[in-house]
Symmetry: C2
């Protein structure tokens, strides 16, 4: 797992295979929605444009569905067992994007308008609610005798998402330096809930539905959690140094938005002089311009924030792999899980 690779790796076959398995169920679930949220949900999934015409842009890659399917296969169950889990996780993920974009005021998502920007805030609230309701409905209706445990896991995951998002919103109001500054530990706890929990649910829910032993479920859940933390670290790197053509966001985007991401927090902990400079550049009442953001990026890099974050990504990727290799899992699914994890982290940074 080498997060700083070229981004040119071919998509694992597992993605296409799992899409074939799960997409009919996902489309059937969306098809059951009221026409108003259905169209907005289809837009948020990348299936259509805001006016309802078929989409010209790619949607999500379906990594979470594939994780669910492969995790079920890794505990010896047919991939089909995981379909309700895969659909529920994708719906929960999409729900969180739609509502988070409202809360964060993000106008763009995957090179298009965000749902609230395209349809209005009220309709976007409704769309998120519809997606979440559907996630619970799909999982609760799975027919598996282990549905109760799966729904508990899903509800806990939503609780984590809300908790992490609340932390993230509060971080914005806290000072850059001093005793009330956000610590690296607080940041990791936030990221574990906001990003890790959902990938942990993706890898755990299929095995839960399959009735896998708790030891295997826990190992797969832990692998997903670490994968999520590695993914978030890469995301934080992309938020500062990502190519605008790839990310769809302006250069130094997260710095211009004064987001308290891992590279910045790490730089401030590693180098007190950098902390003072960053506070001057980012801590004023007005958002920094392009020049200030560029200077802040250089300060973060010189202080070691970029390297630290890359090391964090590697550390969590290694921990994910270790969690998988610590328990007996079925092949080829286990190897495919590792390959899919590498693919997920293989983004241009």
């Amino acid at each position: 797992m080498t997060p700083q690779t070229t981004g040119l790796q071919a998509p694992p076959h597992a993605l296409a295979r799992s899409r074939e398995l799960t997409e009919p169920a996902l489309r059937a679930a969306i098809g059951r929605l009221h026409p108003l949220p259905r169209r907005m949900a289809a837009f948020s999934l990348g299936w259509c444009e805001a006016d309802g015409t078929p989409s010209t842009s790619p949607g999500g890659k379906g990594v979470r569905q594939a994780l669910a399917v492969l995790a079920a296969e890794a505990v010896g169950a047919p991939g089909a067992t995981a379909v309700p889990a895969a659909v529920a996780v994708e719906l929960l993920h999409t729900f969180s994007l739609v509502h988070d974009d409202i809360m964060d005021g993000d106008e763009r998502r995957r090179h298009r308008d965000s749902v609230w920007k395209a349809f209005g805030t009220g309709p976007a609230v409704l769309t998120g609610d519809a997606l979440f309701a559907l996630a619970v409905q799909v999982l609760a209706g799975s027919g598996s005798e282990h549905t109760g445990a799966a729904v508990r896991k899903l509800a806990g995951t939503l609780g984590d998402l809300v908790h992490g998002q609340a932390d993230d919103l509060l971080f914005e109001t806290r000072p850059w330096t001093g005793p009330d500054a956000v610590t690296l530990g607080e940041y990791e706890a936030m990221a574990a809930r906001k990003t890790g929990a959902l990938l942990g649910a993706a890898t755990a829910l299929g095995p839960v539905l399959a009735g896998a032993p708790p030891r295997l479920v826990d190992a797969l859940s832990e692998a997903g959690l670490h994968l999520g933390l590695a993914f978030q670290a890469v995301d934080d790197l992309l938020g500062i140094w990502g190519d605008p053509l790839t990310t769809g966001k302006p250069v130094h985007s997260d710095l211009r938005r004064r987001k308290k991401t891992l590279p910045v927090l790490a730089a401030m902990v590693l180098d007190p002089a950098a902390a003072r400079r960053l506070e001057l550049l980012l801590g004023s009442d007005a958002p920094p311009g392009a020049a200030e953001a560029g200077r802040a990026a250089a300060v973060v890099e010189d202080a070691g924030g970029r390297t630290f974050t890359l090391e964090e990504a590697r550390r969590h990727a290694t921990a994910a792999r270790a969690a998988l290799s610590g328990v007996p899992l079925a092949e080829p699914a286990a190897a495919e899980l590792v390959a899919l994890s590498e693919y997920l982290l293989d983004r241009q940074v």
Copy 2:
């Protein structure tokens, strides 16, 4: 059940009894939330003011929790069986108020600012999400062997709420008259989902957790649905003719907001001449002033819309009672259910 009574009926003892049973669990659940949504959730439940000081205004009466407790007792189970159901229904109800107020742009709720008005739209979205997550968590963690069925019912109820809210939002965009006008059948289908489903869940979930026979669950669910429809009809009457001191809303509030409620829709169906006058009064680009709204109220009343709606409330109240009396239920809970229903509908109209 006489919806047009004085509103001076004493609260049934069942309300206090069920509050004693369910409130500790509700407070414990809210206490598990992240501090940010926890405070907003406490505000939305009427427990504190926006600044966190203890509330000076009364919160909800806890009718839904009492319905859950009494319904469980009516199928012969201890009221305590229904506590997770009562808490989940109250959380789901509060979630829907918080998000609906965002979508409807309603600035006031129970004589106070709505959550989005007091805390901002993003935080209100988060609060609703937190409440809904908690509802599923509480019910999924009930420990009952019938949890799976209960969660399916809750998820279906949320699906209904979203569907009903989507209908309600779409109704606003439809014309007052002509082939695309909202029909009375469409209105009832919307109200059944938006209001009936939640009361149907309140009366069904306790019995579901108790493992009651489907025939009893269905009868109680149907009673709750009709009670909800009766409640909505009374609410529609109050939205036009309610005392502003009681409702906390301006006189003729729903007409000034040009809401397509049952009295108006009924008047337009019953009297084509009234329909044309109402379209002139309510259908222009600008919202009607106090004088136009007053004239519209008189037109609705003269056309029979008020009487029709009162009859609808009575019809559904009777149907609720019939559903209860059609199956063998345990006393005194069954009688208390009827008394509580009467209390719920006994509002000044």
